[in-house]
Assembly symmetry: C2
Homo-oligomer: 298 residues x 2
Amino acid sequence: MTPNAQALYLGIDGGGTKCNAILVNDEGQVLGRGTAGPANPYHGYERAIDSITLASDIALKDAGLEPSDKSTLIAGLGLAGLHLPSQVKKMEQWQSPFAKSFFTNDLHIACIAAHESNDGGVIISGTGSCGFAHVDGQSLTLGGHGIPCGDKGSGAWIGLSAVQAVLLASDHLGPATLLQGLLEEQLEAKGMLIVDKLSQARSSDFAELAALVFRAAEQQDEVALGIIQEGADYLSALGLRLLELSPPRISLLGGIADQMIPWLNAKLVERLSPAKRSAEFGAIQYARSQLTLEEVSK
Amino acid sequence: MTPNAQALYLGIDGGGTKCNAILVNDEGQVLGRGTAGPANPYHGYERAIDSITLASDIALKDAGLEPSDKSTLIAGLGLAGLHLPSQVKKMEQWQSPFAKSFFTNDLHIACIAAHESNDGGVIISGTGSCGFAHVDGQSLTLGGHGIPCGDKGSGAWIGLSAVQAVLLASDHLGPATLLQGLLEEQLEAKGMLIVDKLSQARSSDFAELAALVFRAAEQQDEVALGIIQEGADYLSALGLRLLELSPPRISLLGGIADQMIPWLNAKLVERLSPAKRSAEFGAIQYARSQLTLEEVSK
């Protein structure tokens, strides 16, 4: 890149299911977009690298540019899994094809984008669940431990809880539930064969089962109502803890966020604000702020 | 094997942590024993095959015989994971080195051995948990779904529950517990790094953490007491359901069985009888009964 060429920024929001890329110029104008597969290095480093590269190539093509132009890009990458120090280290050792790469976790970029500011809070309830707030230079991360260790109130946790409840009901060791019929139909399996079908299941597979729980809850199934309320209580407690830091704004994001709102603590709900932009814009903003820091420290 | 040579029987009890082999002659005299690693094909087919082969070779050597003598043995194999039809199919396709191989699940051979009879019941609380009863030609299997879908009251479930409780406590989203200090010390990690350390953890790794929960419970830690009681309540309910079939005897087996007894329902405890023999003898008895069936049907 010659000193006079206009800088191009790439923003990557890499999640457990897909990876979104956005290409913008120095004025913030969107030139291209791309989407590829999962980009959580914790669940597969090679696949994450491939998804990031592919999403970038698609965004470049969308902008009328070539894959080889990756070498001119200043990239901000917010990836799921990068709350783990081991994963940050792994990604920083990657010989990335970009001119510069700035890595952070997906929560951080989602928060920056939601508030168009470094300060704010986010509660995420999608495939997984977690919370993050950054206020006056201090940050707090809650949850994000994944199933089976955590992620209460997420799609994956709700789906896994449904499977547990159905297996107990099948053995007549737990209350009868509409979830049994719904799950057996969805998986085309009963009892032990459900376990067999789910032997290689990932978080995203369990999250797909969450819809059944919302369906059973609509029919006032006690087991389904109990699962959703327990998950929502966790998200409420997590949100109220973030509010203790007094973030100027707080948003609820993620694939099942809208479905969870009716179950959340009213004090939390009245504090929620919609996200201003999607997470990949936060990745751009993060890259720009890190670049400024580098230039200042020169 | 010439028709006049004495038949030798191999009994295999293959669990998630280790595989025990016993070699007996036609009179039931023990000639040799061997132990090797995990032999649950659901958690690793190749490893299970290797463990079975190695345990057999050790038992043969112990008896002063050669590995090549495997081809003369009539083997009964009771393996964890064989309650799943897919796993039974996989094992039956194995070109086993034995003259004959009869497969069943580990619960079945444990029950036969516990009562020296086809009729009886067993409750297992070891790495995993499950129940089995066979009475008057009818059998009932409960649980055995593995973590994270089931296996309440097992070592793995107790260990996983401890990890969940510690992560909630670390985020101040659950009650403080002595388990936090104990787990952090054991894993040499805190918060998110605990998740990182356990990313590849198997059931047996979680089961190793159960000892911490019993230690915290001795110190009246409410969280630990709650975990153990919830697990014990499940085992009690499971045992009482098996008793509905009126098995002549019922036994509680497995690595943490003795530790769980004080927490179980008194009506169940007064019905428990000690196991007469260890599971590998049940595998021998199973092989002999299947061989008799084969000869009868000729």
